[in-house]
């Protein structure tokens, strides 16, 4: 077990201190003996280990695109100590047995804590409830349920799901996409560019209208609702309204929606095809402000690995999704820290504390204090890199940041006292 002394890190931007890790927890640094490993963290910021509410690990079913091992290794490189693995695997995680299997893969192969997300409906078909209770009671202790990839569009089923999970403090995470307004072929923000390029449009109203409906149902059922990958200003307005009414809704935003706009689609490069789509810059501005003021509670990567042969199609036929685990913090530093929209304390909240809270993870997002589990990431605020998509722990290469100059923040990631990533090693 690790016996590690981290010297002189700036603890979440609140001042420099030492951290001593023994047997997976923080202990009093004064107890550091002579036979301890040392890590000089002078100039580095220490954050609680990051928690990703929204990852696609693709195992079981698409191990050619990613596995629990490769995905969590990528997560560790990105500073994460826990990931929530979405249910749209093959088979779907819609039973206790499937959930336990994913958790076991995590325990065996994972470089982070792996918590399975349970499907809301059987087979993600949006018709009948999956065994939510059994998944919650299983050793996997599922608390987050989502049909992500599909919108839970049946209002009655959403109501039942929200009511049902109240019994065990679960949360329903919605992928908001009205199938009548934005069908499966919708692949580009509906606007000037989609009109010019002849691509089926995905209007912002398709997302905001579902969120507007769901917050009403959340209010009706007095239950917890979480909105995945908020992509447009209209949705932000709805969430703000709902929070003002004390509706129990939380929201996440993906790093790519904080920086990339729909202009990227002009070359028809399927690397930039994602669901929900990239939007015009006005929306990017609103999302940043909403993340700054807390209307959006968390950053979640929606890491979506795809084998090359699933992306090398015509734009309208290519798979949706981008990689995100290894670059998430870099993008947040670039868009939010550098512009003073967020402080390091805020980043800790948005990328660790709040996600852990939403997912009800007891050991994550904890203070960096004696007695707490040793989940910590050391960050260099100034280092920079040119992103190389081939320099990645993921099995996939659909990286939208390739060739761009971004921060290179993660120096070391420590999960439960073990160093899972160390830059340069």
């Amino acid at each position: 077990m690790t016996n590690l002394l981290i010297r002189g890190a700036d603890l979440v931007g609140r001042g420099r201190s030492d951290l001593l890790i023994r047997n997976g927890r923080f202990v009093d640094p004064a107890e550091a003996g002579t036979d301890v490993d040392r890590l000089d963290a002078d100039g580095l910021v220490a954050l609680p280990g990051l928690v990703d509410l929204h990852t696609h690990l693709r195992e079981p079913g698409r191990e050619d695109a990613e596995t629990v091992q490769s995905g969590t290794l990528a997560a560790a490189r990105g500073g994460f100590t826990a990931v929530l693995a979405m249910a749209n695997t093959t088979p779907v995680t819609d039973t206790a047995e499937a959930a336990v299997h994913v958790a076991a893969l995590g325990a065996r192969d994972g470089y982070t804590q792996v918590v399975p997300v349970g499907a809301v409906s059987k087979g993600l078909d949006g018709v009948e409830l999956a065994e939510l209770g059994l998944m919650a009671r299983s050793s996997a202790r599922v608390r987050v349920f989502s049909d992500d990839g599909h919108c839970l569009s049946d209002a009655r089923l959403m109501r039942r799901a929200l009511e049902y999970v109240r019994a065990f403090d679960g949360v329903i995470a919605q992928h908001a996409q009205d199938p009548q307004l934005a069908g499966v072929s919708a692949c580009c923000h509906e606007g000037e560019i989609s009109g010019k390029l002849g691509l089926p449009g995905w209007p912002a109203a398709a997302e905001a209208s579902v969120v507007a409906r769901d917050v009403q149902i959340a209010e009706l059922t007095r239950s917890r609702l979480h909105i995945c990958h908020v992509s447009c200003a209209e949705t932000v307005d709805v969430i703000r309204w709902a929070k003002q009414r004390d509706i129990n809704v939380t929201a996440e935003v993906a790093p790519h929606h904080l920086m990339l706009t729909t202009n990227e689609v002009l070359g028809y490069d399927p690397i930039y095809k994602v669901n929900p789509p990239l939007r015009p810059s006005e929306h990017v501005e609103v999302l940043r402000e909403a993340l700054a003021d807390g209307t959006i509670d968390a950053v979640a990567t929606d890491h979506a690995p795809h084998a090359r042969h699933d992306k090398d199609h015509a734009f309208a036929e290519a798979a949706f999704g981008m990689l995100g685990l290894e670059t998430a913090l870099a993008v947040v530093v670039e868009t939010m820290i550098k512009s003073d929209l967020l402080s390091w304390t805020d980043v800790a909240k948005r990328m660790s504390i709040m996600p852990a809270h939403i997912a009800r993870l007891a050991d994550q997002g904890r203070p960096l204090a004696v007695g707490e589990p040793a989940n910590v990431v050391l960050v260099d605020p100034a280092a920079r890199q040119v992103i190389d998509r081939n320099d990645s722990a993921s099995l996939s290469r659909n990286n939208p940041w390739h060739g761009r100059e971004l921060p290179d923040p993660v120096v070391a990631t420590i999960w439960a006292g073990r160093v899972t990533f160390r830059k340069g090693r």
């Binding site: 509906e190 009109g195 390029l197 002849g198 090359r308 090398d312 199609h313 015509a314 734009f315 036929e317």
Partner: protein
């Protein structure tokens, strides 16, 4: 010289004029006993069609053959539907056989652009999804120019002329290419359609937009009718074919409202009775058959422009 022809916007006015003038010369080949020019001898052109189109494909085939090129037709319809071979693999496999030019028609917008990034050969867009169809716009311009020159032989641009395009603009690659090409040639383009068939962002296009056909019709020097698919009715784009025809069809009464000397165009195939009446299709001022005839000459011209000189 041009490497690819992907979009009508790739061409400026001098280039368009050069292509149309060349097409005039190429059109003479049709009447000769030996319908051949040796210009593309030894060049290989592949028609890679992911979408059925007998008319466009045979037009490209004849164009290539009359220029002495070796023309191969590959119908790649099945592969993308079954998600078997990726677009990239299909394109690279064909290109690896050593082709000089790939003429691509695909049901997804943007496929020719993607293809042009993967291979060295020249790429010619024969229609991509609902995005563009540049050779159609060129043959429309060729036909319109001949018609306008019948009363004004020195005409070189379309300045001062009004072209109305009526129909399902949202799903029309012919409309998009024509808007680009006709405005480059100086025409004023007016789009007419019910609001449900006007694309997002159309207000940013260099055109006028109107939902009232009768208001626009008397001003138009050219009336270009677009095909409307009956299947659009199930998407809620218009309530019934009857309502569409009465509101937006080129009916017999509307023929009388046309400006003297105005002409009728249609890219085909026509839905006689829906967007265009039989009277209009067969009217004396209909250029529809000329459009069809122009296809080969214009495509010969484009192939020659791309492949006729040094690499």
């Amino acid at each position: 010289m041009m490497r690819h022809l992907l979009s009508a916007a790739d061409l400026d006015q001098p280039q368009i004029t050069e292509i149309l003038d060349l097409a005039e010369e190429m059109s003479l080949v049709q009447g000769r006993p030996v319908k051949k020019l040796p210009a593309l001898r030894g060049r290989t052109v592949v028609n890679l069609f992911f979408e059925d189109s007998t008319r466009t494909r045979s037009s490209f085939e004849i164009a290539g053959k009359w220029l002495s090129a070796d023309v191969i037709n590959i119908s790649a319809k099945g592969s993308s539907v079954s998600k078997g071979e990726s677009l990239r693999d299909t394109v690279l496999t064909v290109a690896a056989m050593g082709v000089d030019a790939l003429v691509i028609r695909h049901h997804a917008s943007g496929a020719p652009w993607q293809a042009s990034r993967w291979i060295d050969a020249h790429v010619l867009n024969a229609g991509d999804g609902t995005h563009e169809h540049p050779t159609q716009a060129l043959l429309d311009a060729f036909t319109i120019r001949r018609h306008l020159r019948s009363s004004n032989p020195d005409l070189t641009s379309f300045d001062g002329k009004t072209v109305a395009i009526i129909g399902d603009i949202t799903h029309s690659r012919v409309a998009r290419s024509n808007v680009l090409l006709l405005t480059t040639l100086g025409a004023q383009v007016i789009l007419v359609a019910p609001p449900t068939l006007l694309p997002a962002g159309v207000d940013s296009w260099p055109v006028l937009v109107c939902t009232d056909f009768d208001e626009v019709l008397p001003q138009a020097d050219v009336v270009m009718m677009l095909r409307v698919q009956r299947e659009r009715m199930s998407g809620g784009y218009f309530p019934t074919p009857r309502e569409y025809t009465i509101s937006y069809g080129l009916t017999r009464p509307r023929l009388e409202m046309m400006k003297p000397g105005a002409a009728i165009c249609h890219p085909g195939p026509m839905n006689r009775g829906l967007e265009i009446s039989a009277d209009a299709a067969d009217a004396a001022n209909s250029l529809i058959l000329e459009q069809v005839a122009a296809g080969v000459s214009v495509r010969m011209s484009v192939l020659y422009e791309l492949l006729g000189g040094a690499e």
